[in-house]
């Protein structure tokens, strides 16, 4: 992967901004952490929805799985999990700072790898479905996971799961800073990985699958293998994002926080489409714009925020069908390194 000088400046600028952000806007740490998680979700969704042409509503499964796994490991490493989640329990368990961070680190590892493995297993059986069938099937995955986890007593069932509270270290701001940097780190990791694979043959194969899967197969590409690996990469980062989000929210509910297909599951699709699917920067820009609009509507149109959000979606679909990146590309093709042959363009316009 080669980085041009201009790009290097851009990345360093963004990295500096990312590191400085919690200190520049100390009151917005939680929103910024959530923004990082949203970007991770949108970017990884884009691997399926944008590059591969498989509209997956099932990525929320990995996110929720990561959330439960991370919290369970964090608690279970040091205390009996069943007693922690029991609602009538009288005991109070408190993590020491070392226990908390150790648990979190190990929990995040589990939260990343297990969903990836699950994605591999599920992917093997359902990635043979195409188009709408795949979308509907994955939609069912998230819903089913929510209902099942709502019945498992050891992770709190319908009572929900209170994640370990942040220990008393440093100042009041340290919790916010910890979760921000954690999510920012995962965001950077995701970006590097995704950018890496987008510059290899792997991306071209994904695109080939999107454009014509049968033809890709006919050319000797083992499409199934690539589809599964792609999904596993998404699951890896979705799981990480979920684990962080669980700690950040502090309370896991089966259908409202973890397997939140109705919100997060839809938002990740929306953000990628808003920014422009099938591009590297699209999901990032989409998530940022979406998050800012959502927070804004929430403050200024209280009670009407979903109406405002609905209007935004309609506007996007009508005026930016290709997303913000697609719109920019059409408007300023030369900035995207495309050479426009003026004569040819005119000829085409005249033909119409």
């Amino acid at each position: 992967m080669s980085i041009s000088k201009n790009n290097l400046i851009l990345y360093i600028g963004i990295l500096t901004f990312g590191i400085a952000a919690p200190f520049l806007f100390p009151a917005f740490k939680v929103q910024l952490s959530i923004l990082c998680v949203l970007i991770v979700l949108a970017t990884t969704w884009n691997i399926q929805g944008g590059e591969m042409g498989y509209n997956s509503f099932g990525n929320i499964l990995f996110y929720g799985l990561g959330m439960y796994l991370c919290a369970s490991v964090q608690v279970g490493m040091f205390f009996p999990l069943a007693e922690w989640t029991e609602s009538g329990g009288e005991k109070t368990f408190v993590h020491t700072p070392t226990q908390f961070f150790q648990g979190m680190a190990f929990g995040l590892l589990v939260a990343a790898f297990v969903p990836a493995i699950v994605a591999g297993l599920i992917g093997y059986s359902i990635l043979g479905l195409r188009g709408h069938y795949f979308a509907i099937c994955t939609l069912g995955l998230g819903v089913a996971a929510g209902e099942i986890s709502g019945g498992i007593e050891i992770i709190g069932a319908g009572q929900g799961f209170t994640t370990p509270p942040f220990p008393d270290v440093g100042s009041l701001d340290s919790r916010g800073e910890f979760f921000y940097f954690l999510s920012f780190f995962v965001l950077v990791l995701t970006f590097i990985t995704v950018r890496g694979i987008y510059s290899t043959r792997f991306k071209l194969i994904l695109n080939a699958i999107r454009d014509n899967e049968d033809k890709a197969e006919a050319m000797g590409i083992e499409t199934m293998k690539y589809k599964i690996v792609g999904w596993m990469i998404s699951a890896f980062f979705c799981g990480l994002a979920g684990g962080i989000m669980g700690g950040l929210v502090g309370y896991i509910d089966s259908t409202d926080v973890a397997f939140d297909g109705r919100e997060m599951g839809v938002f990740m699709v929306l953000m990628a489409i808003l920014g422009g699917k099938g591009t590297l920067w699209g999901p990032i820009i989409g998530a940022t714009v979406f998050h800012i609009f959502k927070e804004g509507f929430w403050t200024f149109f209280l009670g009407w925020q979903y109406v405002a959000l609905g209007v935004l979606i309609v506007v996007i679909v009508i005026y930016f069908p290709e997303g913000i990146m697609g719109w920019l590309r059409e408007k300023y093709p030369e900035r995207f390194g495309e050479v426009v042959d003026e004569k040819d363009r005119k000829a085409q316009v005249e033909l119409k």
Binding site: I14, L24, F28, S87, A157, G160, Y251, D256, L302
Partner: protein, 412 residues
């Protein structure tokens, strides 16, 4: 690559937007004490969220118009910043963070429902922000060692165990068979645990133990089982939607059961919406207008009922009453602390021992109100079809006698 410019300018625009939108309202501005609350104005708890908000607003208006809060020889007025938590715990936790770190709120009022309170409590606890909540009854809230959480209501496990006791009493002290159907959420599941305890204690047995989904619109499968098993008691809990669904389908399917015990009947305006179909339903309630508690602001339950009905156009369910009581508790604590120091206010709250129109309030170590028993009322209708909720237990407050067993549908 020119694209960089676009992205860079986008980021700088973002930075400017962020830096200009930091507005910090201090908790006490001029003569105002600003409280923060995340309320479910949309989503599955929206009807109860509105009851909660109405309860808060009613008390704020009343306290402000009757002289406000006197701290350090100065009079302050209450003001509340509301956000909509969309009945979502994730959103609620974010909003608590936002109220505290962005809006500078130093005192909080609770949201609606146990799940959302569970999401907010860790945040208020971290910042040491005292929160008086009126709608989070799950027992697990009070066993986490929270120091800044105070609940004016009795814990959820006490909601319906009285009903089991009543049924056993009517069965000459012998155990009864109980069918249970509970929504999968923190509150209802805790009610279930209370019922399970009562079943064990009285030597009864459970014959059905169903979990219902969160968006509760259909429980026909459970009711079919009830028809077959013929239990002595059917217990249902699932917030407002649960109460409405249960009554609708029980009357449609003509399910005969000697005792039907539920929660949230008054919040669902059952007697109004379903009239005679809701007759004989037994409901757990934190408060009823006929209880004889008194205070200086709302006088008593009957007056509160009349004033609330006049202002909002419907009779106050207990969710509204307990929410109003939360502000009375705050006012009392501020005046006793005579300060806006969060620690002092917290200590004053912990030492609360007062009577309000809603009931006595005294907090245990874990923050739950231990000085206020639950009541059970039964929906009773006259021949003209006008229905009313009448307290039947405990005996001290009873204004009518329990009708038991419920007459079968064929005889109604």
């Amino acid at each position: 690559m020119r694209l960089n410019k676009i992205i860079l300018s986008f980021i700088s625009a973002l930075a400017i937007l962020f830096s200009t939108s930091v507005v910090s309202l201090a908790k006490v501005v001029g003569d105002k004490i600003v409280l923060g609350a995340a309320i479910s104005l949309t989503g599955k708890y929206s009807s109860n969220g509105v009851h909660t908000q109405n309860g808060y607003n009613m008390a704020v208006d009343r306290i402000n118009s009757m002289g406000g809060v006197k701290v350090g020889g100065k009079t302050y007025k209450f003001d509340i910043i509301y956000y909509d938590d969309e009945s979502n715990p994730k959103r609620a936790a974010q909003l608590a963070e936002r109220l505290i770190s962005q809006d500078g709120v130093e005192f909080m009022l609770g949201p609606y429902s146990s799940g959302l309170t569970k999401a907010i409590a860790p945040v208020t606890e971290k910042y040491g922000v005292p929160m008086v909540e009126a709608n989070g009854a799950s027992r697990s809230l009070f066993t986490k060692g929270y120091k800044y959480l105070f609940a004016v209501l009795a814990p959820a496990n006490l909601y319906l165990d009285v009903a089991i006791d009543l049924a056993v009493e009517k069965n000459n002290g012998k155990g009864v068979s109980v069918a249970m159907a509970f929504e999968q959420d923190a509150f209802s599941q805790d009610v279930r645990l209370g019922v399970l305890d009562a079943i064990k204690r009285t030597g009864s047995k459970k014959v059905i133990d169903d979990k219902l989904p969160k968006e509760l619109n259909d429980m026909a499968a459970t009711l079919v089982k009830v028809k077959q098993m013929k239990p002595d008691v059917l217990v249902v809990s699932g917030h407002t939607k649960g109460a409405l669904t249960a009554i609708r389908q029980i009357s449609e399917m003509k399910v005969d059961v000697p005792m039907l015990a539920m929660t949230h009947c008054d919040a669902a305006k059952l007697s109004k919406q379903h009239g005679k179909n809701s007759q004989y339903a037994l409901c757990a309630s934190q408060w009823h207008k006929t209880l004889t508690y008194k205070d200086d602001f709302f006088k008593d339950g009957m007056t509160y009922d009349a004033d609330f009905t006049k202002e909002f156009g419907y009779a106050p369910p207990y969710q509204a009453a307990e929410s109003s009581a939360a502000l009375l508790v705050f006012k009392d604590a501020f005046e006793r602390a005579n300060s806006f120091d969060q620690k002092k206010v917290r200590d004053a709250l912990a030492a609360t021992n007062m009577q309000t129109f809603y009931g006595n309030i005294k907090f245990a170590e874990g923050g739950q109100n231990v000085d206020k028993p639950m009541v059970l009322f039964q929906v009773m209708c006259d021949d003209a079809g006008k229905c009313e909720n009448k307290v039947v237990a405990p005996t001290k407050w009873a204004s009518a006698k329990l009708i038991h067993p419920i007459p079968s549908w064929s005889k109604r």
